[in-house]
Symmetry: C2
Subunit: 443 residues, 2 copies
């Protein structure tokens, strides 16, 4: 029995099916769409992806072929973990089913702080295809928009709206954009680019009030009334843990569901995975929140195997992330400088400004690489990359290096391939590592 | 004292300078150009890079600033390793210099087999800027060309000539293209693409004779006279070891100069690096030839540090390679299947056909990934990737995984980041590893 139909759920269902060809697998979904690529929503909004429907990963007949009993538009109303029984409600009324193993992939919902005027029309979130379509409709009738929150999704949305021809304002409470992924120095490059592209970026401010009549017409920010045709709230998400708490499953210090490495909750035969759980950070060993589609996929697979009677473990997270907005690619893995310091590590920081291709290639673009090393162990613990291209696989290389606890000495000597149209003969990751070696020797 | 002015030499010179700010550093170069990016020659020929001169990495004043005493257009005529004396000849006549440490970065020269008619005009190699310019001149007066050798450079040249509007024939003695990097199944994809782009690819055949008058007019291949306006020979290169042999430095089984991990030859105070040396393969531990610019850079650095009195070691090679031709990117690291078998390893092979971006992204391209695992140790020992994009950094990730001796189990669980316009949520390297895990469990 799987609650949810997102990345974690679908990965769990497929893994369970592979583990036990005869298992009865039921998926209970709030949405009327079958599982879709949530990360693609801003790109569909930008019209870079042809339609929101294109994001649907598997058609209905996939569920039939796989023997997944999908219950769409259904809300779980009760779970009895002693009787191993679940109750849910759909248009057809209430239904009760029993389970041998339960997987909670209840996900997370957008945070919506209690701002005055929040009840007005024209204030959107972007979490579902329906959300995306609602914003899309608003775009076609609008000239200006305001985005609250300058995280990854906020800036992906801002980029989409700019590409759709709108005048965009972004309001961020923190002193920098994309705080979970970037240190101030790297965020500065984002601020510069976003501003160059015509976005008004307001840092250190909240949206204090939504103004207007029935529909939002302006947002009060630090005493200024900023006129807007609509608002998109992208402050972040909060784990859905109510059901888990109801059955007595423990939460961790992060207020997400506590699980062990087999994705078992503290309640017998109840697993959890995806945005609703607490993860262990691979560098610090500390509890960590990793609300990413990739983490959900990997955790879902482990939960599915175990729930179906197999054995699988989830090693932990580096929360490797990457995206593209305003023609810049941004990648992150492991720890930022501020995260390292929060964990008590005073890292050796090594930054390199380099090029994405041979310097003489006409399409060469700039690249900034920042790497963090543990000063006592000499191992790489984190990295940030901003470049015009080739960030995704480079940050994944760094992720592999971090999980292998590679030292700066080793990273300085990697056997990297090169071709003038694809990258430079000198790999900036190796170069940054080499410079860290000097710092290590000097400590 | 450094003999040569290529990738290995310049890396050695820079490393020596960093190690000893006061060292007297002399570089003796056959070429009249200062060090340039040899790997860029086919791309300059294609006009993708604006000019051959653009490939020159450092202007003359860089040598002055760094205190490198460059002797251009000079040929070393004698080395006395006992007296630590070197004799060379230039337009200015003969000169003799003494050294404390000698670095032989004598490189490799194109192989030119004794084919009848080789003395005719219009038969080129592509090793130097002058070679490139000579071909470039021939292109502007020609309609058809024939390339002998379907290795990386041969196909890069073929692509360049096709882009310049020529009708191109490629003749290869082996039954497949790019033998050092690809197994037959992957080479098959190259054959298909090259042929689709209008190249006539003749495998299993040599160029038997060059026909014509003063100038080549046709090539005899398997009894057929193939008319051509010029020929480019790209059969491969052979290490320049004559000077090393002259002073009694041992060669290895590969007929390249034997060195230890500090890049010392068997002659006291004589180092060697780059295309002229034998390397140790990181997977097999066996002698290996790795005639790549990247290997030369890394080895040169080690030789330079040691020659200047520092301490540095070269760990060995995976010969990670990547290139782009005919709009396909090709990458390789570690061992191919045939190389593994030659080393006595019967590998577990895992191949995946996947996509470079989210399946719904309009610019998504095909990707083929093949990975090899040691069946007894479970570790990854090699990989090949062919795709429309994003191969370079993915093969470098694989190189890092191989050098870390990562198991299939570990690789199946890497924390890879993802964004729909940049890659797919499921990383094909992890997927191929997962499938190898099944094979490992079944053995």
């Amino acid at each position: 029995m799987i609650i949810g139909c997102g990345a974690a759920s679908i990965s769990a269902a497929i893994a369970a099916r592979k583990t036990d060809p005869d298992a009865e697998i039921t998926m209970i979904s709030r949405d009327h769409y079958t599982a879709y690529a949530r990360c693609g929503l801003p790109f569909a909004l930008a019209k870079e992806v042809p339609s929101f429907e294109a994001l649907v990963d598997f058609p209905m007949d996939f569920y039939e072929q796989m023997g997944f009993n999908l219950k769409p538009e259904s809300t779980v109303t009760d779970v009895d973990a002693k009787q191993k029984r679940i109750e849910f409600e759909s248009k057809k009324g209430k239904e009760t089913l029993t389970y041998d193993a339960l997987i909670m992939a209840t996900g997370a919902d957008p945070i919506f702080p209690p701002i005055k005027g929040s009840e007005k029309k024209g204030i959107f979130k972007l979490r579902t295809i329906d959300d995306g379509k609602a914003i899309d409709q608003a775009v076609s009738k609008s000239k200006k928009a305001l985005v609250v929150g300058a995280g990854l999704i906020g800036l992906e949305v801002a980029d989409a709206l700019v590409r759709r021809g709108l005048k965009v304002t972004v309001v961020e409470l923190l002193p920098q954009a994309v705080r979970p992924l970037l240190d101030e120095d790297f965020a500065e490059m984002v601020h510069k680019r976003v501003t160059e592209r015509g976005v008004r970026l307001i840092l250190n401010h909240a949206a204090d009030e939504f103004l207007g009549g029935d529909k939002v017409e302006a947002v009060l920010v630090g005493g200024e009334k900023i006129p807007t045709d609509f608002v998109v709230m992208t402050i972040g998400v909060r784990s859905n843990t109510a059901l888990a708490q109801k059955i007595g499953a423990e939460l961790g210090v992060t207020k997400c569901i506590r699980v062990n490495s087999r994705m078992e909750t503290t309640v017998k035969d109840v697993y959890a995975c995806g945005d609703c759980v607490e993860s262990r950070h691979l560098v610090t060993g500390l509890p960590s929140v990793s609300q990413l589609g990739t983490t959900a996929n990997r955790q879902g697979k482990v939960a599915g195997v175990n729930a179906a009677g197999g054995y699988s473990v989830f090693p932990g997270v580096l929360s490797t992330s990457v995206t593209k907005f305003f023609d810049m690619e941004i990648g992150y893995s492991g720890l930022t400088e501020w995260q390292a310091k929060l964990a008590g590590i005073e890292p050796i920081v090594s930054s390199v400004s380099w090029k994405t291709r041979a310097h003489y290639h006409p399409e060469v673009k700039d690249m900034e690489v920042k790497m963090l090393f543990d000063p006592d162990l000499g191992v790489v613990i984190g990295g940030q990359i901003i470049a015009g291209e080739s960030v995704a696989m480079r940050i994944n290389l760094l992720s592999v290096a971090i999980s292998n606890r590679m030292t700066a000495f080793e990273l300085a000597k990697i056997d990297a391939g090169y071709a003038p149209p694809l990258n430079d003969a000198v790999e900036p990751i190796a170069m940054a590592a080499e410079s860290a070696v000097k710092s290590l020797k000097a400590t």
